[in-house]
Subunit: 341 residues, 4 copies
């Protein structure tokens, strides 16, 4: 079978590069064009020397790309830009948008967290890209919105026990630790090496935009409004997110709910009761490790979920969704083992 032709917009960012890395080993996809505004004209090897061995098209401005030739576009642009660009794409292409541009089903909610929605008419048809929970809708969608990487980590830990009714929806605390690549390849003082290395700090406490995704998905799962507490921390590592979730409910029931929900999932691994995941154990991969530990206080439980923010939290999720949208075997190109150490 002829590989499907895909285009990556925003190829000069980390998510773009991660898409290229994964697609390079994917037998069912072929990169037809790479978009990047400021770095248009450069080769990918100049922007990302680790991709030097690949035969790739040079970076182009979006306006110069022929989208007609593509089956699917991965759009890894900032959310504002993304909405406008997606709107202009021909009807013939499918789209996976990796920004926050289409994640929130209610444009009014979007407006509250991000500002005016520029493509509300497209929002109605967009599917939230948390593959394991929206698989069927994704399969039939034209436009899929990649999830926030922090949001995905928390959702994987909490959705099954929440759906199963074995935890208290009003008592969910998500303490999350994330590596620096989640902030993208953007030069800001707070992200330079000497500021991040050998330090841990919280950021955007009680106001991180991924709260909007938690609210949307947890409320939908519980059939009522659910508002969680969420505190992200920056830890001195490149990749990886660990969510430590404090819930009310019996550890056994929670472990059961997770084990059942993910039993047939190719990328979700629920560890034996009491085992604890580490971010390095999923580095660079599409896998998620989920652990459950009972607190010493009865009725309280900690759920841990670890994933790689650029892979499962972003690019690998997008490719998983693309496989579904394009009718390919859903795990195609995604089985590579994590890189350890």
């Amino acid at each position: 079978m002829e590989p499907k032709r895909v285009i990556i917009l925003g190829a000069s960012g980390y998510t773009g590069a991660e898409l290229v890395r994964l697609i390079a080993g994917h037998p069912g996809l072929r990169i037809a064009a790479l978009g990047a505004e400021r770095k248009a004209g450069l080769t990918m090897a100049e922007v990302f020397p680790h991709l030097r061995h690949l035969d790739l098209p040079a970076l182009q401005k979006t306006d110069d790309i022929d989208f007609a030739a593509a089956d699917l576009v991965f759009c890894a642009l900032p959310h504002g830009t993304s909405q406008a660009v997606v709107q202009a794409l021909p009807e013939t292409v499918k789209i996976i948008d990796l920004s926050a541009g289409f994640r929130l089903r209610d444009p009014a909610v979007y407006a509250r967290w991000y500002g005016p929605h520029l493509a509300p008419e497209l929002q109605a048809g967009a599917v939230y890209g948390l593959t394991e929970f929206y698989r069927d809708a994704i399969r039939g969608a034209r436009l899929v919105a990649g999830t926030g990487c922090n949001a995905a980590t928390g959702l994987y830990a909490v959705l099954p026990p929440l759906r199963a009714g074995v935890i208290d929806p009003d008592e969910i605390v998500i303490d999350l630790k994330t590596g620096s690549s989640g902030a993208g390849r953007t030069a800001t003082e707070a992200l330079i090496h000497a500021e991040v290395a050998d330090s841990t700090r919280a950021y955007k406490v009680a106001q991180h935009r991924h709260l909007a995704e938690f609210d949307q998905e947890f409320s939908a799962a519980a059939g009522r409004e659910v508002k969680v507490t969420f505190t992200p921390h920056l830890v001195p590592q490149n990749r990886g997110i660990l969510a430590t979730v404090y819930v009310r409910g019996a550890a056994d029931a929670i472990h059961d709910a997770l084990a059942r929900a993910y039993a047939a999932e190719p990328f979700l691994h629920v560890l034996p009761m009491g085992d604890i995941p580490a971010t390095a154990h999923v580095r660079g991969s599409a896998f998620v490790h989920v652990g459950v530990v009972a607190d010493r206080r009865p009725g309280r439980t900690m759920i841990f979920a670890a994933l790689d923010n650029l892979a499962k939290g972003s690019a690998a999720q997008a490719i998983h969704n693309a496989n579904l949208m394009l009718g390919l075997p859903e795990t195609l190109g995604l089985g590579a083992a994590p890189l350890y150490p």
Copy 2:
């Protein structure tokens, strides 16, 4: 005034070396002897080349040390060893024990977490070394027990609002992130660089021994039994602990309680409401930064405390206590600014 003569037992570990580092800049203390069993006979420069510039006694076995000549002994040995060694010290010396050997006032509780107490008769006179909360007792004590470094971090965040009655004692969750030096200079597979770097993981979830200190101190402060949830994480950095504490109570009242409790404290800094500490901001110092952020859900608040595990969490605390016990100005030798970046 003649400097006081101190002896450090366990000088070949990180805490021992940190004591030497800080005492080297302390005008009121002089190191009379350094103890280390396995490395006895070596010079300190051989064991810790960063101390090469100092004129220090060579390492000796405990049995070879003349304790009569000392005013105070810092005992940085493992907890079992420590109890036996402390018991054998002459009555004339004061002791700061940095192990867990004398932290728990009830020997039965000690036995539950650590095994049989070898010096229960000394325990009765031991004072828990959280300086800001036991200052007067420390001043008059012969034996002071240094706190656990994780315990200290959580206690600094929680004790003032708990004492002030502005948080719910039954709803305290301490999510803690700590650097690798807290585990000591001990060769174990789980601590080698390639296992720790670029990864975050929880450990000893719901069973860490510092829970015993939390129980003891929080219950004493609240006048009733208090059991917290506590999850320590290992983050890929050398020094620093950040405690993120989830509590029930009004952020303003909590911030007030902290600000009042620490208003006159030389090393405790309560940040402006909403500011968040980073471990790097206290690296290598006796300072603690405490921050308070209101959750978006009314009545819920996050308290953050950051300190350096080897300095304020261990050696600087010990010296602070030594200053009190020896009648020296209490901040003497401890004012050095953190090392950043």
Copy 3:
């Protein structure tokens, strides 16, 4: 075609785990057994949780393994052990030994650097596993000796210009920087995280055993005795080796020699003149990046080579050689792009 059956001895070390990781994505190889002495009886998921998703045999003692069923054995044991184990393997299996056990063609030289050779009769038939330079011999060999990872890095930088006669064989200085995983998964004080992080130091200066490999290979290439200066450094990172090689010769001629030598090589990339490789650009991959920069002093040139010590420096090299020995397409299973960042 039926995949070839391979056995990995020393599967509980980093090299063993890296072999498993790469073979998991290799369509022509199937793991028939995994050996590990101390950890025999454990599952691979218990020893290396990042491999949890794979269906793997449990770890076995070497004595319990049925070697008759295997086409090839990867032996990732310490060099002394390795020689005895390899000697005992049935004649029917091919062997890639990743220790130093069979790297030195002259047993007398081996004895000088490592002690008595326990299998000198096998040494005669062993081929040095630097694939690009011994491809034909490897294809026909029963026993191939994987190179030292430091040695490989230096050899890739130097062999082509040395063979081409465009550098002075008496003026070669190799300054090498390596990550901590090269030291293996062994608990030693000098390798714990707090000792390695945020520090750079040299080690085994002028006495590193990989000097023996340099001597052997450079002398063979030059047709006369060549002794280089070699200084390895430990840098605070998990993976990656960068060799900075100072040579006498014209940069253009050196670049030409490298470009010609590696023109048809699938994994060797010579960067444009003046470009400089970074270890992160080859992380986790079989690729080597080689750069050449002219010094400001005419006739002096710096050659840089970067590779991943566990992948191209060890396990990927071994699989490359296994492909040749087993008659498989030589790049099979080795094309995955580096993980960046």
Copy 4:
């Protein structure tokens, strides 16, 4: 004695913050004003929270600072800016400029590496600030130029044996590894955490501007033109520089020359023959560790020097020089032990 009043320009950079950190513990200096253009109006605690405990003047624009009240100005501005600012300072103040603005005695050489010199008339009176080699001139100078941090590291390793005539001036190769803080607190893509962490790379090979300092100082020391080979590398750590210097000469004679040159120096430590320094052993301090190892090839030797780029390589050097210029005891405020680990 009344402390001397000093002003720090460029206080919002890492060097500025390091000056503040060290001066905070210096009994003979008092900070009269802090200058910073873009961040004027902010408090130091807002720009550098680790200095929160100090009572410091707020940041001011240079134009708003009253220099008449100062004894000495530390100027930590970029080199172009620096020359203009220094020119405008009142004759009554002494100046330590930490940029490259006044390091090169010949304005023509300066022009070649940095562009036109804006204050050539001041250059004539400027003294190169490598304390141990220009102590007397520094004592009497009005304007001292802080050295490059890389340059200082190489100079400490090489100057004594070069002066002693025990190494060949034409065969000096300096391979240098430096942490990320040396690049300053400037947001550039190449310096963000994910680009630097877990990677080693060379930069500005054969063209780094510190070559000009090497040329100047080595030529002066040798009494003839000396041009070295110099390759700086960025390693993933915050602080610390290790210079590995390859020279021709007998290790014993070189070790002797170093030991003699530094015998009376308070901050220079020559390790026993064969010992190798690590950057962590001098972290945050004014100390330099120098090691010598004989190559296996007779007549070739490796010299190692380790220092902290922000401390001894910049701010501690500046304070050392300020002590000399202001008639204070020269080690005042500089004796703090390194922070390890």
